[in-house]
Symmetry: C2
Subunit: 239 residues, 2 copies
């Protein structure tokens, strides 16, 4: 048998269901931008369908997550986790889910209500959720979620116990089918509104961290990986 | 005919499908806390189902929103808007949707990967989306969305034109069926991990605003309502 190279990844927005329809000028097609946004984000909003028949409806819940660009899924793997008792999460196994990561970068205050907007970066990933059953992959995914919160931290912790691993469900979503939108500019007003005068502009927003708060049982100074994380998060600026 | 008072609103998590199942200690049942979170949030993640039959799946997109506690829907009304050409949005008319608003307040760095967590406030509203057809309600909703971004701003703008209103779809979701979770504390570790030593704590996160950036055509100083908004957003602190 010959070795067949995998097909190249498409640009973002490759399929009908992730194609950016509205505000097409805002679409981003560079996978590096997707990867950068997923690295910046801390919370994903995971949408799954629950219920049956006419009672079927979406539920959207916030999740910690991590990305492994070398993961086993097409385009790389996005991991989310939760309790094995979380019906909504485990019930999404083998179903199509939607994972959305949004970073809000500013309020855009135009001269008409119609042209008010926000500056943001947002990624939408649609794919079939795979329940991770391999122990090594699950342990790697959980470490990646810890390290996404604070890079370098998982190496400072004891390994997960068998009981902890048994209590934790990990879902993997392929990154192949993804789209991204971004807006990063001031207001775009009607010429007549500009001519009429009046103030318009934007308010940059960013996330910032305050100094780490040790718990009552913590010895010594804040570890270097935590201090570095606080410094990095304090420096995340919007455009 | 006698006047019948409407039934009192239930506490949060009133129905099977919004009941908080996991982390029940995190459930918030006070509607005032829900209203406060919805006032603090700027972006909602709206989940709708798209597609048919076996191809039906959720899509989650970020939206600006506003709340009218005196709105016509049971428990008050949450409004989202978009282009009338946005199929995913308009297609949700009369369907059950899920609106989730999350504020991230901190990273919780425990002594085991298992007990890592985040501090956050998150509201999940599930309800049947109503397409707002009344012109007066639609104009009120759009003003509310502008004022949610910057309180007092809509009164400084010209009214929407008929063309703008015709191009804008507004969906209303009742606030009756809602749940809320919140976490606001340091790590909760296993006693054995505490005994083993090692640092644990949390990193407070908050959103902050930088000074408003006037566009090139803006005369004079930043209006008072914009400066007040920047000051208020700069002061939003996590716990």
């Amino acid at each position: 048998m010959s070795t067949v190279a995998p097909p190249p990844l498409p640009p973002l927005s490759p399929t009908d269901r992730t194609a950016v329809r509205r505000g097409r000028n805002r679409a981003v097609v560079d996978r590096a931008a997707l990867h950068a946004l997923l690295a910046d984000g801390l919370v994903a909003h995971l949408g799954v369908d629950v219920g049956d028949g006419a009672g079927r409806h979406p539920v959207v819940l916030p999740c910690a997550y991590a990305v492994d660009l070398d993961g086993p899924d097409d385009g790389g793997t996005l991991y989310v986790h939760g309790s094995v008792a979380a019906r909504w999460l485990v019930g999404a196994t083998d179903a199509t889910v939607c994972v959305t990561v949004t970073e809000l970068d500013g309020l855009v205050l135009a001269r008409s209500g119609f042209h008010h907007s926000m500056n943001y970066r947002s990624a939408v990933v649609i794919g079939i959720a795979r329940l991770v059953t391999d122990d090594a992959e699950r342990a790697r995914a959980l470490d990646a979620i810890v390290d996404h919160m604070a890079p370098g931290r998982s190496a400072t912790l004891r390994p997960a116990t068998r009981k902890e691993l048994a209590a934790t469900a990990v879902l993997a979503v392929p990154l192949r089918e993804a789209s991204m939108k971004a807006r990063a500019e001031g207001p775009v007003d009607e010429p007549a509104d500009v001519a009429a005068g009046g103030w318009a502009g934007h308010v940059p927003l960013r996330r910032t961290a305050d100094a780490a708060v040790p718990d009552a049982d913590s010895p010594g100074p804040v570890p270097a990986h935590v201090a570095a994380r606080v410094a990095a998060l304090s420096g995340v600026r919007s455009r």
